[in-house]
C-alpha cells in the first residue's frame, strides 16, 4: 500500500464514461474530504473504457491536500452549495460513509444522503435530520431575500416518514369519530404537521388544528359533529 493510499488521499472508481468515472471517484473521496470538488483533485486514467463495447472507464483520483484545505474553510456562495457544505460536513463528522446529492428546482433545494446505517443522521423521531435541515435552510438563506424550501433526506426517510404520519392520521381520525372527541397526535415539526393537515384537508367529518408551543406543538383531529 502506498503512502498516499494509507492517508486516504486517493480513490479509484469506474464509470460508463470517463466523466462518470471521475464523478464517482470524487464521490468516493467525499466521506473523507467533505465538500471536495474536482477542482482540488488530480486524475490518473487507468482505463479509457469504451461505451460502445461496454468496457467501463477507470480512474484514480488524488486529493491535493493544500488545495482542499483552502476550499474546506470557505463558505460557498450559492444557497445550493451552502446546503451541500453544511450537510456533507455533518455527515463526515458522524463518521458515515455516505454521499450527498443535491437537486435544486424553482421551489426547493433537496439534499439526499445515500449510504448505509443512516440511523445516526436521522436520530430519534427524526430529531437530528430535522435539526440539520433547519441549519441547512438558515445557512442557505440567512443573507438573501430569496427563499426556497430546503429538504434534507436520508435514503427514502422522508417518504417512509410521510407514510407513517398518514397512518397515524388515519388512526386518529378513526378514534376521533368512534369516541366523538378530539384526538392529539405526537408532537411534530411544522413540515410534518403540514403533511397531516394537507392529507386530511378534504375530509368533511373531521377538522385539524395545532396546539402548544414548539417543539411540543401537536396536531389535533376533531370530529365535526362530536358524539353523533
Amino acid at each position: 500500500m502506498s503512502e498516499d493510499t494509507a492517508k486516504g488521499l486517493t480513490a479509484e472508481a469506474e464509470g460508463a464514461s470517463l466523466g462518470e468515472a471521475k464523478w464517482n471517484a470524487v464521490k468516493a473521496l467525499e466521506p473523507r474530504f467533505p465538500g471536495v470538488t474536482g477542482d482540488c483533485v488530480s486524475f490518473e486514467v487507468l482505463a479509457e473504457g469504451d461505451e460502445g463495447a461496454d468496457l467501463p472507464a477507470r480512474v484514480r483520483a488524488e486529493v491535493d491536500e493544500a488545495a482542499y484545505e483552502r476550499i474546506a474553510g470557505e463558505i460557498p456562495e450559492t444557497p445550493a452549495d451552502r446546503v451541500r457544505a453544511v450537510v456533507s460536513r455533518v455527515v463526515a463528522a458522524l463518521g458515515l460513509r455516505a454521499s450527498v446529492d443535491i437537486e435544486e428546482t424553482s421551489e426547493e433545494i433537496r439534499a439526499t444522503v445515500n449510504g448505509d446505517d443512516l440511523g445516526l443522521l436521522i436520530g430519534r423521531h427524526g430529531a437530528t435530520i430535522d435539526a440539520l435541515q433547519h441549519l441547512a435552510m438558515r445557512a442557505a438563506f440567512h443573507s438573501t431575500a430569496e427563499h426556497k424550501a430546503v429538504v434534507v433526506d436520508a435514503a427514502g426517510y422522508r417518504e417512509r416518514r410521510a407514510a407513517a404520519l398518514k397512518r397515524a392520521a388515519d388512526r386518529a381520525v378513526d378514534d376521533a369519530l368512534s369516541f366523538g372527541r378530539a384526538v392529539e397526535l405526537e408532537p411534530m415539526g411544522p413540515q410534518e404537521r403540514r403533511i397531516v393537515h394537507v392529507y386530511l384537508r378534504d375530509r368533511t367529518d373531521v377538522q385539524t388544528h395545532s396546539e402548544g408551543d414548539e417543539p411540543d406543538r401537536r396536531l389535533v383531529v376533531t370530529p365535526v359533529k362530536p358524539g353523533s
Binding site: 474553510g73 455533518v90 463528522a93 435539526a131 441549519l135 445557512a139 440567512h142 443573507s143 414548539e214 417543539p215
Partner: protein, 77 residues
Amino acid sequence: MQDLVEYLARSLVDSPDEVSVESYEEDDGSMVYELSVAEDDVGKVIGRGGRTVNALRCVLRACAAKEGRRMLLDVVD
C-alpha cells in the same frame, strides 16, 4: 469537533470572520463550546425562540455522541 462548531456557526452569520469558538473540558468529561459572534449576528445563531441554537445543539450532540462524548454549546455575549 471545534472545527465543525466553527464552520456551522460561520455558515449562519453575516460576518463569518467575527466567529470564534473556545472550548474546555468539564470534570465529568463533557466538552463545553463557547461560541461568540458579531453583535448583529447573535439573533441569527439563536433563531426565533432559540430554534437555530437548539438545532445546532442537536446536530453537534449527535456528532459528539459518535465520539462517546457529551457536549454543551453556549452563545456568549
